[in-house]
Symmetry: C2
Subunit: 258 residues, 2 copies
């Protein structure tokens, strides 16, 4: 099986390197990732600029490509151009920091896995739920265990569905197991800091500060991770709110004179 | 009521200018939009660079800001920093080109409206379903009619839900009415064109080519627009695939030894 590995922290980030090496135990790994950090680029793709690709030499990995584009570009290019074989799995990560709740909308790492399922390849996004925990070895091992189990069981997700995995930043013996979760609320104190440049002109820094999780529902992602469970959330890319369609039809807009 | 108007084609695009002027009939319009075109940036936000904001003079509009960031940045900055009043509505558009099916994931215009509902403001994304139809007047009129009707009925969407509106590029008398729809499939022939630069180094252009809509289900967005209906799709930002959670729990991953 060929496995496309990508991320949004950039091709040299320790998380993606640990992941790529570990995935070699289950398949032929092709690493296609942004040359530069592309956190928070969401599902952006590059359509107005040319995309450059460099083949890189990385010890212990056979095929590594650095792309001057977004994570979604990497998956498109990787699957449609660079990888000359059928791809059995896209694994995106291991992200430096959690991707839970509304975070997933901004996340390049999760968007890469969404792009994988749009193209029709089973995909998983993996994040280590800490910005300053530097040991990706446990997260990589757990990802491998999860992938092996899915392969062993020959499980197939429904079309358009991916798994979003968040791993608690603790030693292996403290991890209590896996929990299948839903995306929870993710509250930020979104503020901008206004500064003046040396010439007196203003500019802003976005300083979204994560607020403590209020959510106590243990079936949601953040509470699961805070309780040292690996959170596995099935995500879909169809944003239609089907529940509300019937209610909106009753508004009578369909009979409105335009 | 204060209305924040934004888009992804840039602050000078004819679609957003037509929209902003028309929205003045129902509220105080503040236009906050990217200085440059930001199509296909998805839900990206700017967190590693400072954001510059320029107040612009545009005839007929009282408050216009140009931002060197993404549409989602514009909504965050607009609602949390620039607009000094409570905002009653975010309207994003009128986009040059359709935003239907999986398009919405890549769309800066739709992502701006998603950002609006994340912050808690009712939001609508509006697109004119053609890349070369230059008359935004009908689309702006229809948007106004829709907004007025929602205000008249005092309708409130559930939290986290926005309306994604796609308007057929035809004269008003050919528009058959509004249809409440779901997102349909959107198939692209995704290919990259490889070229060599003058120094012989390769680069790629993304050339996603939209394939003709195969979908015939008239309750979906693209068939509705092709039949000259205005498509109104309720979208949510919670990507959890709740339907599949029970099935995945039966895989037994929660009992897996890590």
């Amino acid at each position: 099986m060929y496995i496309l590995v990508t991320n949004d922290d950039g091709v040299s980030a320790p998380g993606v390197q640990a992941l790529a090496r570990k995935m070699m135990e289950v398949g032929n790994v092709v690493l296609v990732a942004p040359l530069e950090e592309k956190s928070a680029v969401g599902h952006g793709i590059t359509i107005r600029d040319p995309i450059r690709v460099s083949e890189l030499k990385v010890e212990g990995l056979s095929q590594v490509w650095g792309v001057n584009g977004t994570p979604a570009d990497c998956v498109k290019l990787g699957l449609q151009e660079l990888l000359q074989h059928e791809c059995g799995l896209v694994v995106s990560g291991i992200n430096n920091g959690p991707n839970m709740g509304t975070d997933v909308l901004y996340s390049g790492t999760v968007s890469a896995a969404i792009e994988g399922v749009i193209i029709g390849v089973p995909s998983i996004a993996v994040s280590l739920a800490s910005w300053d925990y530097e040991d990706y070895s446990v997260a990589a091992e757990i990802t491998l265990t999860l992938v092996k189990e899915i392969i062993r069981q020959e499980r197939v997700l429904p079309p358009g569905t991916l798994l979003n995995v968040n791993i608690p930043p603790v030693p292996r013996e403290e991890i209590k197991g896996i929990k299948i979760t839903g995306l929870g609320a993710r509250e930020y104190e979104n503020r901008f800091e206004k500064r003046l440049d040396p010439r007196g002109n203003p500019y802003y820094w976005s300083i979204g500060k994560l607020l403590p999780t209020q959510e106590k529902n243990a079936d949601l992602d953040a509470p699961a991770v805070e309780n040292n469970f690996v959170s596995v959330t099935p995500l879909q890319f169809d944003l239609t709110n089907y529940q509300i369609i019937k209610e909106i039809k009753e508004w009578g807009l369909e009979g409105l004179k335009l």
